[in-house]
Amino acid sequence: MSVVPISYYLVLSAVLFGLGAVAVVFKRNIITIFMAIELMLNAVNLAFVAFARAHGQLDGLVYVFFVIVVAAAEATVGLAIVITIMHNRQTLNVERVNLLKF
């Protein structure tokens, strides 16, 4: 059973990462942007796993583990912030939450 070349995974992760970036830039909904960030993290994780596989080492997997944990923490706080924003400004559109400027 032949092996899928690692480069395939890497390219896939790159593509996902790029799409995530596009989403971050182009979505207006805070929550969606958040999800886009998660997507980018996932892409990075994929790359990590692929590299770990390629080198036959575990470190990459451990990193992935940590990334996931940190993502969880981030989501916790981030969503709490989102809820607060919604309560205070009744909108989720980042372009409407623009008082902090100049």
Partner: protein, 669 residues
């Protein structure tokens, strides 16, 4: 010799007095302020006396005695020690300054008794003493310069003592600024001197200059330049042409100040400096000539102005200027000793005259216009007699101190090694005028019918603490000159003999020989023709100076006692010249037109409106504006729109990725 090793004490005393009075005196009663001020100066005088006593115990090779206290500043080859030195010249100056200073302090306690800022006045006065002594004692040009500037400062402070009076404040500023012009030359002179001799210690400078081969030196422009520049400083400080204008205005200050600073001590600093620098000057004939010319012309010129002044202090001021002229004339013609001698006697009688004038003013309630005086000799006898002595002394009447010194100067100008007929005539004329205007002053003040308002003014003799100094100074004016008396009968001039080492030490050979000849000369020639001392004496007391002095006296008597209506006639008939003199040749107006107004105009229209507002403010505001504009542009990036930020992040990521790719490419290839 305890005190010689601690010369600084002489400086420390008045400084301490100034500090104590200045910092604490505000709330103290006058008595304590007096004690501090007069006490410190008196102690200074006493220590000077002790110093002199010790000085005479020194062997000639120990002179000048230099006390080197600490290295003040060091910059590469340039090192300045705070060093004080004592030699004969210093001794003379020290005695004059400290003694006259002490007397005037005492006098001031009476004169200033009812003035505000009493403590301030004495603090300034003590400070002046400190600086003046520093100037005199300094062993190098820099320490001297410190004293030089310090006395300038004190003069400014004291002229502007009544700073609520605009004229006084302006006079102070005028004195400061005009003197500053001279100081500019002085400073440049110092730099040039250092550049030339790579040292500013009098010792080293003189050693180097005397080591120079005389023939190169004769034409050495640098030397002349140094001398001229230093002399410019002297001109400023000693109120010679063309920078004399500040001195008459300086009379705005309290009379004791005029006596101390603007008659006895400070204004003579220039003379002292020139005398101190004699090794340089004597090697630069051109500089000598300039000094002599300036001196003579000033002497005559200001005497003419003095003729018609009506303000008693102004008259004295102009006479001071002219007397200073005589001193420079003396230095210019090579008889430094005579210059210093006249300096000393002048300190006595001019101080006396000022103090007496002050006493008169005091008597008539602050009135300074002589036309509102007259007939005061009954009311204020002490002042009358002392002023008489002063007048006789300045007029050069034989037997009075002025006679000896002035006679020596004119003698040297007429028949000395650097004799010059024109200068001699000028000096002579000046002498005549001097006696005229002095007696005019005397007669206007004390004789004739009283012209003051009897209801307001009740003339009264001054208190003891004012009259006593008057008497002492009167005595000195009377007998101060007799040290030179033997010269008249062919004997030696003790004063000159005393100072001789200072001026002979580094004197150029040729000049030295000439001077020696001249010294012996008078005796020699007299010995040639008529060797009898009596004849010598007769020659001396019937010499041209005495004649012209007598003429001046008679003319004054004729004008102001005998036919007191003549002056008005003259004033009307010779209206032009009279106006010219009365307005002091319009020099002030001239300066105002030539220097002050253009300067003001430039300052206002160029420096202020263009340079300051346009360029400097422009730069500053421009920087601020640029910052604000750019900030305003840049802050647009801070749009508060998260998506824009995200975009920037992406852009940055792209940048890094491209960079990485480039590096990878390099690494691969």
């Amino acid at each position: 010799m305890p005190l010689l090793n601690h010369i600084w004490i002489i400086l420390a005393l008045p400084l301490a007095g100034a500090a104590i009075n200045g910092l604490l005196g505000k709330t103290w009663p006058k008595s304590i302020v007096n004690t501090v001020a007069v006490g410190s100066v008196s102690l200074a005088f006493l220590s000077v006396a002790e110093l002199v006593r010790e000085f005479f115990t020194l062997t000639p090779d120990q002179i000048p005695f230099v006390g080197n206290y600490f290295t003040w500043m060091t910059a590469g080859p340039f090192t300045i020690d705070f060093a004080l030195q004592v030699d004969q010249l210093t001794v003379v100056m020290l005695l004059v300054v400290s003694f006259v200073g002490m007397l005037i302090h005492i006098y001031s306690t009476g004169y200033m008794a009812y003035e505000d800022g009493y403590y301030r006045f004495f603090s300034y006065l003590n400070l002046f003493m400190f600086f003046m002594l520093t100037l005199v004692l300094g062993a190098n040009l820099i320490v001297m310069f410190v004293g030089w500037e310090g006395v300038g400062l004190c003069s400014y402070l004291l002229i502007g003592f009544y700073f609520l009076k605009k004229s006084a404040a302006d006079a102070g500023k005028k004195a400061f600024i005009v003197t500053r012009l001279g100081d500019l030359g002085f400073t440049v002179g110092i730099l040039l001197a250092f550049w030339t001799f790579s040292s500013l210690n009098f010792h080293d400078m003189f050693a180097k200059v005397s080591a120079m081969p005389s023939e190169t030196m004769q034409h050495s422009g640098v030397l002349t330049a140094i001398c001229v520049l230093l002399f410019i400083g002297a001109i400023g400080k000693s109120a010679q042409l063309p920078l004399y204008v500040w001195l008459p205005d300086a009379m705005e200050g309290p009379t004791p100040v005029s006596a101390l600073i603007h008659a006895a001590t400070m204004v003579t600093a220039g003379v002292y400096m020139v005398a101190r620098m004699n090794p340089l000057f004597s090697r630069s004939p051109l500089a000598m000539l300039i000094v002599a010319i300036v001196g003579a012309v000033t002497a005559f010129y200001s005497a003419t102005i003095g003729l018609v002044q009506t303000d008693i202090k102004k008259v004295l001021a102009y006479s001071t200027v002219s007397q200073l002229g005589y001193m420079f004339l003396g230095c210019g013609v090579g008889v430094y000793a005579a210059g210093i001698f006249h300096l000393m006697t002048h300190a006595f009688f001019k101080g006396l005259l000022f103090l007496a004038a002050g006493s008169v003013i005091h008597a008539v309630g602050g009135e300074q216009d002589m036309r509102k005086m007259g007939g005061l000799r009954k009311q204020i006898p002490v002042t009358y007699w002392t002023m008489l002595i002063g007048t006789l002394a300045i007029a050069g009447v034989p037997g009075f101190s002025g006679f000896f010194s002035k006679d020596e100067i004119l003698d040297a100008a007429g028949s000395g090694p650097h004799a010059n007929l024109t200068l001699w005539i000028l000096g002579l004329a000046g002498a005549g005028l001097t006696s005229f205007y002095m007696f005019r002053l005397f007669f206007l003040t004390f004789f004739g019918e009283s012209r003051y308002d009897h209801h307001k003014v009740h003339p009264h003799e001054s208190p003891k603490n004012m009259t006593v100094p008057l008497m002492i100074l009167a005595l000195l004016s009377l007998g101060g000159g007799w040290v030179a008396a033997p010269h008249l009968v062919g004997g030696t001039d003790h004063f000159e003999a005393f100072l001789h080492p200072v001026f002979a030490a580094y004197a150029p050979q040729t000049a030295g020989i000439e001077q020696g000849v001249s010294l012996a000369g008078s005796a020699g020639e007299s010995g040639g023709i008529a060797p009898s001392p009596a004849l010598e004496l007769f020659h001396a007391i019937t010499g041209p100076p005495v004649i012209v002095a007598l003429a001046g006296f008679l003319m004054a008597w004729w004008f102001y006692i005998r036919k007191s209506e003549v002056p008005e006639k003259l004033a009307t008939s010779l209206h032009g010249p009279y106006e010219l003199l009365l307005n002091k040749y319009w020099v002030d107006e001239l300066y105002a037109a030539v220097f002050v107004r253009p300067l003001l105009w430039i300052s206002t229209n160029v420096l202020w409106h263009v340079v300051d507002e346009g360029i400097i403010d422009g730069i500053v505001n421009g920087v601020a504006r640029v910052a604000r504009e750019s900030g305003g542009q840049v802050r647009e990036l801070q749009s508060g729109n998260t998506r824009s930020y995200a975009t920037w992040v992406v852009v940055g990521a792209v940048g890094f990725t491209v960079l990485l790719l480039a590096l990878l490419g390099m690494a691969v290839h």
